[in-house]
């Protein structure tokens, strides 16, 4: 009995990601180097770093997520699988959702796992570490889906990665704002943790629901 198409697709994405480019490690290494270079610019003063720690981690996670996304559809476009999936029985929207889920598991999740570790390098207190990790867990799916829209729009372009970042970053501003404020709630006495965090979750769920349609539409028009 062949497995359901979507689980077969999920399996294929995970296997292909692991075989070339070492899966999610590239994103984590990029995350590490971003967190490393900030103190070189700002200086090794630990209490300054811990104050802006959540912001550094969020910006690094945002850029690391975008990094891995430009090949999300381009690889399939080049080897012809994208066309064939159009002829499949499963709707393209579901295929896109599963691909983004697989991509998030391979690149997004390792970022969330690595965030507290790198937070230690920025001298964050345990509550701030927890705040950053949970807010990243809630925020990275939204970043992934927004990035997928950019990836679909630039699927036929040779050097689409840069353009994609320019297209997607403005869309990601709300996620960044609520993510950082939720993450930084432990430092600042004023903002509570729950309010920005719940808005962040709402943003993520809304993006998960809406973005696949935009991505599918973009892929259909782009792959002519």
């Amino acid at each position: 009995m062949t497995p359901a198409p979507l689980s077969a697709l999920f399996l294929r994405e995970i296997r292909a990601a692991r075989r070339i480019g070492g899966g999610g490690t590239m994103g984590v290494v990029f995350f590490l180097i971003l967190v490393t270079i900030v103190p070189f610019a700002i200086g090794p003063d630990l209490n300054l770093l811990s104050r802006i720690g959540p912001a550094i981690l969020w910006i690094a996670a945002l850029l690391a997520t975008l990094l891995g996304l430009d090949r999300l559809f381009q690889a399939d476009h080049e080897d012809g699988s994208l066309d064939l999936m159009l002829t499949g029985d499963t709707p393209l929207e579901l295929i896109v959702l599963v691909k983004c889920l697989a991509h998030w598991t391979v690149t997004g999740l390792p970022l969330v796992v690595a965030a507290p570790l790198f937070g230690l390098m920025l001298a964050l207190e345990p509550e701030a570490l927890f705040g950053v990790t949970i807010s990243l867990l809630a925020g990275t799916p939204a970043l992934g889906m927004l990035g997928a829209i950019g990836a679909a729009l630039t699927v036929t372009l040779r050097r689409g990665g840069l353009l994609m970042a320019i297209l997607v970053l403005p869309l990601a501003i709300p996620v960044l704002i609520f993510g950082v404020s939720a993450a930084g709630a432990a430092n600042s006495a004023t903002t509570p943790f729950m309010t920005p965090f719940l808005i962040l979750c709402a943003l993520s769920l809304a993006t998960l629901a809406a973005a696949p349609f935009a991505v599918a539409a973009a892929l259909r028009h782009m792959s002519e």
């Binding site: 198409p5 080049e78 159009l86 029985d89």
Partner: protein, 220 residues
């Protein structure tokens, strides 16, 4: 020759193009094309390079929305939402992920492209054996030669039975033995009531109606 299992005949299927007009960029490549293909019939599209053979095939497979006119696929009486859903499309690239092995790719396409009610086709290994490359099953596609990759692409047609085959220059990169296997496959498909639309330069050993782009009538 490897023995070929007898395939269940396809239910009544028709591929109808009515007043089909396709545009690529701002050039009008196919204009006002009409044809009606039924079970067991093949259409071979010929013509010099750049006259829109590939564009026509991509239009039939539903990747390219027609500028005017329609492509309709009728399957067992009722109309499918697009001919593509009934068709296997084989383009210049075979749709295999280079990092995955031939077997993994075929397993994926078997579950992705299987049509309900048509039964399951050959297993990946059987399909590869029928195409004479059983030994590549466990190897990443990146290791394979162009001809072997082509045969893995052709194997995809056997693992998930679909009535309509849309083939863009299927003979490329195939050696003599490969071409015989392909022709045998095509004859079997037509015998089982399948339909074939193929764009090719070299002749295919099947009885088929000819469509040479440039002149728009369809020769019987």
């Amino acid at each position: 020759m490897t023995d070929r299992m007898e395939k269940a005949p396809f239910p009544e299927t028709r591929l109808i193009a009515s007043g089909l007009t396709l545009r690529r960029g701002d050039r009008l490549l196919v204009e006002g094309l009409d044809f009606d293909l039924a079970n067991g019939q093949a259409l071979i599209v010929t013509g010099p390079n750049g006259t829109g053979k590939s564009t026509l095939l991509r239009g039939l497979a539903g990747f390219l929305p027609p500028a005017r006119g329609r492509v309709r696929g009728i399957f067992a009486g009722e109309e499918e939402r697009g001919a593509g859903a009934l068709a296997h499309y084989l383009g210049h690239v075979e749709g295999s992920k280079p990092a995955l092995t031939a077997r993994e790719n075929l397993h994926f396409w078997q579950s992705m492209l299987a049509l309900p009610g048509l039964g399951s086709g050959l297993s990946p290994d059987e399909a590869l054996t029928q195409l004479g490359v059983p030994q590549v099953a466990g190897l990443p596609v990146a290791y394979l030669s162009a001809g072997q990759k082509r045969r893995v692409g052709l194997a995809r047609l056997l693992i998930a039975p679909r009535p309509i085959w849309i083939l863009d220059e299927p003979l490329t990169a195939l050696d003599a033995a490969g071409q015989d296997l392909l022709n045998a496959m095509l004859r079997d498909h037509l015998a089982a009531g399948g339909l074939i639309v193929a764009a090719t330069h070299a002749p295919l050993a099947i009885a088929a109606r000819q469509l040479s782009l440039g002149s728009r009538e369809v020769a019987a």
